[in-house]
Symmetry: C2
Subunit: 303 residues, 2 copies
C-alpha cells in the first residue's frame, strides 16, 4: 500500500509563453502548482489541487502522474487553460508580464479531494487570499500551512492578504515581495517584520543570490547553486517552495535542522529548474542528480 | 623584534562626505587605503602607501598607528587631502558620487619605502592602471599581487586596465565591475571570463549578498553576514579586500583552504565596517569581536 499523501499543493496549471533574451517558447506547460508539484515529487508524493481547460495535453498529465504526482485534485473543465506570457530582461530577475488570460482559473473554487484531507502540510501558491479560509476549512488536522504570494495580491487585496498571512506557518516571498509586504528595504528587517505579522517561518527567496530563512530563534542564509547557464527562470520560486515542502513532508519533522535542509534542497531543485525551458530542467533530473548536486554544493560553500 | 612587514597596501587616504537616507557626515576620514589597512590590521601589520594633505588630522594618523598600521609609506604633502562626496539611495548598493576633489592625490607617484619592499603581498587599490608597473618594479620577490578597480578606470583606460589585470594574481571586483569588465551579466560566467584574462583568483564582491571566489579548479560562494542596520556602506569593498589579504599575509600560504577562509573574513570585517559611519565600525571592533562574529556566522550558514 502507498503511504498516505502528506503534501497538498494548491496552485495553477498553465500554458506559459516565455521570451528570454536568447530564445522563446510558446504555450509550454507551466503554472505554480505544476512547478511546485514537480519539485516536491523528488521527495514525496504530492497531491495537486488545480484546474485546467480541455486544451491541456493529456500527455503532460500522464507525465506528472509518472513522476508520482497525485492528480485527484486536478479538475478538467470545459474551456481554456490559464495562459501567461512573460518577458525576461538580460537580468533574469527582471521580468515583465505581457499578458495573462485567466480562463478556467478565473472562478476556480478549490475542492480538496477526500484522499488529501488528512495531509500534514498544505501549500497555498499565489492564490486569492480570500480563498484561503475556504480551502483550509476542508483540511482535517493540518499541521503546517505554507503560502506564497505575488505582487498582484499585494497591490489589489492588501488587507485580505495580511489576514491570510496571519494564519500561516510559513510564508515564502521573493525580495521584491518581502520589501513590499514589510515596507523595509533591508531584507533582514523585512524578514523579522514579516515574522512579527504571524508566520513562524519567513523564507526570502533571492534568486541567484540564494535564500534567507527567519525561524523561531534562528536565521539561516544560503547562497544559490552557482549557475552558469540560466535558460529560463520561470517557476524557480515555485520549485523552491515545492522542494522545501516536499522535503519537510518526507521527514515529518519541522524543526530547525530540517527547515535549514529544506531550504538547501529548495535552492538546489530551483537551480535544476532554471537550466532549461519550462519543466524540462526538472523532468530531466533524477533523484541521483539531485544528490550529486547536493554533494557538489557542499564543496562550493565549505571552508 | 617585530616580524617583517608582509602586506603593502597602496590606496587613497581621503576625507569623505557621506549622505545616506537617514543621516549625513561631513569630511570624515576615509579612503580605500585607510579602510583596507584598518581591515588588514585585524590579522597583520600592513604598510600603507598613500598621500595626504597637511589638512589631514594627526590624531587620525596616531589612531592608525595605534592599530598597528605602518605609515612609513604615507607622504604628507603641502596642500589638501583627496575629498569625496557620495550619496546613497535607499538601496545601499546604489550610490552616486556628487563630487571628487583629487587634490594631492592628483599627481601622486607611489614610492615604496625600503622597509616594505620584501613583503610577500601587495594590494593596488583603485589606482591608475598605468601606475602599476612602476609600483611593482620597486618590490623585491613579491609573491602575490592583488588589485581592485573602479568604474572610472574601466571607462577611461580600458586597455591599460586589461594590461594591468593580466599581471595580477588576485582581482577584486564588485558585481557591476565584474559585469562591465567581462561583458557578461551572469556572475559565474563573468568570473570565469575574467579568470581567463589572467588572474588566478577572481573575487566578486556582492555587497549584501556576499561574495564568490573563482580559484584554480574551484568555486567558492559565501553569503554576507546578515546585517539589520546598514549605516554606511562606504569602504565595505576595501575592508573586504584588506581583511582578505591581511588574513592571507598572516597565514603565509595561498592555497584553496586559506583563500576560502580569507573570503569569509573579508565578508565579516566588511560587515563590521558598514554598521557605523566611516571608520567607526572598524575602530570599535576588537579581534575578539571578530572571532565572535565568525562563530555566529558559522551557525547562520550551517545545515
Amino acid at each position: 500500500m502507498r503511504p498516505p499523501l502528506n503534501l497538498v499543493i494548491v496552485g495553477s496549471v498553465a500554458f506559459d509563453t516565455i521570451e528570454t533574451q536568447a530564445s522563446r517558447r510558446d504555450r509550454i506547460p507551466g503554472g505554480s502548482g505544476t512547478y511546485a508539484s514537480m519539485a516536491a515529487s523528488f521527495f514525496t508524493r504530492p497531491g495537486l489541487v488545480s484546474i485546467a481547460g480541455q486544451d491541456f495535453p493529456r500527455s503532460i498529465l500522464a507525465l506528472l502522474r509518472s513522476r508520482n504526482i497525485d492528480l485527484a485534485g486536478l479538475k478538467i473543465k470545459r474551456g481554456k487553460t490559464l495562459a501567461w506570457h512573460g518577458l525576461y530582461a538580460s537580468d533574469p530577475n527582471q521580468r515583465t508580464t505581457l499578458k495573462t488570460e485567466l480562463n478556467v482559473w478565473q472562478d476556480f473554487r478549490p475542492v480538496i479531494p477526500a484522499s488529501y484531507r488528512r495531509a500534514d502540510i498544505i501549500f497555498l501558491s499565489n492564490l486569492d487570499p480570500d480563498s484561503h479560509d475556504y480551502i483550509l476549512s476542508q483540511m482535517k488536522g493540518i499541521k503546517l500551512v505554507a503560502m506564497d504570494t505575488i505582487r498582484y495580491w499585494i497591490e489589489t487585496k492588501p488587507e485580505a492578504l495580511f489576514q491570510a498571512i496571519q494564519k500561516v506557518d510559513i510564508l515564502f516571498a521573493n525580495e521584491e515581495e518581502a520589501r513590499l509586504l514589510s515596507s523595509e528595504f533591508n531584507l533582514v528587517r523585512a524578514g523579522r517584520q514579516l515574522q512579527s505579522s504571524g508566520p513562524e517561518v519567513i523564507i526570502v527567496k533571492k534568486g541567484e543570490h540564494g535564500a534567507m530563512v527567519f525561524g523561531r530563534n534562528f536565521v539561516f542564509s544560503v547562497v544559490a547553486n552557482p549557475c552558469e547557464n540560466v535558460v529560463d527562470p520561470t517557476g524557480a520560486g515555485d520549485a523552491f517552495a515545492g522542494a522545501f515542502l516536499g522535503y519537510l513532508a518526507s521527514r515529518g519533522e519541522f524543526n530547525r535542522r530540517e527547515i535549514k535542509k529544506a531550504a538547501v534542497y529548495g535552492n538546489l531543485v530551483a537551480s535544476l529548474a532554471i537550466e532549461d525551458f519550462g519543466l524540462d530542467g526538472l523532468l530531466r533530473a533524477s533523484q541521483l542528480d539531485l544528490i550529486q548536486r547536493y554533494k557538489n554544493f557542499k564543496k562550493i560553500i565549505s571552508f
